[in-house]
């Protein structure tokens, strides 16, 4: 999975491409969580992301909890219908901020 990071002031955008699974979830965790030390808004762009498994969902949940703890906000954008289906199966559509 490739992660492209763009920072603008207090906002950071992480653009993901490929698959977020057991192998690549640690990579996202390493890229995402430290951003909350400085950023107030984290946007995860899923436009090029094809697949999310439970391992990836746990990292997204970790990001959401970290955002709340730090008074920041995590938003997901450009989520595909297939990934949205996984979010709905697991109840994550009601937990994550998706635009």
């Amino acid at each position: 999975m490739e992660i492209k990071t763009t920072r603008t002031g207090e906002n950071t955008t992480l653009s993901l491409s490929g698959r977020l699974d057991t192998t690549t979830a640690p990579q996202l965790q390493e890229a995402l969580i430290p951003e909350f030390d400085t950023a107030k808004g984290i946007t995860l762009d899923f436009a090029e992301l094809a697949y999310v498994s439970s391992a990836g969902l746990r990292v997204l949940l970790m990001g959401e909890k970290t955002a709340k703890a730090k008074g920041a906000k995590q938003i997901l954008i450009n989520v595909s219908a297939e990934i949205m289906e996984v979010f709905e199966m697991t109840g994550f559509s009601g937990v994550l901020h998706i635009e």
């Binding site: 699974d21 057991t22 192998t23 094809a50 697949y51 498994s53 439970s54 391992a55 969902l57 746990r58 297939e82 289906e85 996984v86 199966m89 697991t90 109840g91």
Partner: protein, 214 residues
């Protein structure tokens, strides 16, 4: 048709998942369903990952004109399965998708208790049961001194499930959401316990079933 068995080693599941995805893509599935099949296999491997740390698992694909099945099995060793995996398997076996479970209930009970308090996979009740020398299993409601009503027992079950909310519930939700059928089986084996989980996807149209597996 049945494929060769692929070995699954902890930390190397990607190789097996790639093979499963490649085989699934040869069939009449939309790309979304091919990824769902890969996702199903990945979630099962996640469920059994504690046992994969002890010994490799195996995976194979079987198909007929109407269905595509992925089976993953592993040996849990003489110490059996850890509590988290047991609870996950019971939840999966109680899934509404699990049409093939009833033939496997006996094998699950045979393994789980001697004696113990655990879930009745058929009724969802807490059962206290013993495994006799004659291989018969008898069960009765938990805490026989108090006569709980059926709704009480189901309520206790729901409370117990909530406490275990973090244990593999994501994997279970995804497996239940993507699979058309789920089968769980446990058997005593020479090495301890053998676990087998099968997930099934139904083809949209009947297949000629003549694809060669690589």
């Amino acid at each position: 048709m049945v494929s060769d068995k692929f070995i699954i080693r902890q930390g190397e599941a990607d190789k097996t998942l790639d093979k499963i995805e490649r085989i699934a893509s040869c069939y009449d599935f939309k790309s979304k369903e091919v990824l769902q099949i890969r996702l199903l296999a990945e979630e099962i491997i996640s469920v059994i990952s504690p046992t994969l740390s002890l010994s490799p698992g195996r995976s194979w694909i079987s198909t007929d004109e109407k269905t595509f099945s992925v089976t993953i099995d592993c040996d849990a060793g003489v110490n059996g399965l850890d509590e988290s995996t047991k609870k996950t398997l019971l939840k999966l076996s109680r899934s509404e998708n699990s049409k093939g479970i009833f033939g496997m209930i006996g094998k699950v009970f045979e393994f789980l208790s001697v004696p113990d308090v655990d879930y009745n996979a058929v009724t969802g009740h807490r059962m206290f049961y013993t495994y006799g020398a004659d291989s018969m299993v008898s069960g009765y409601y938990w805490n026989p001194e108090i006569a709980y009503t059926l709704p009480d027992i189901k309520s206790f079950q729901k409370q117990a499930d909530k406490k275990n909310d973090d244990e593999h519930n994501l994997e279970i939700s995804i497996i239940e959401g993507c699979a058309d059928d789920i089968r769980v089986a446990l058997q005593k084996s020479k090495g301890g316990v053998r676990l087998e989980i099968t997930v099934v996807k139904t083809f949209l149209t009947e297949q000629a079933n003549n694809i060669e597996f690589n």
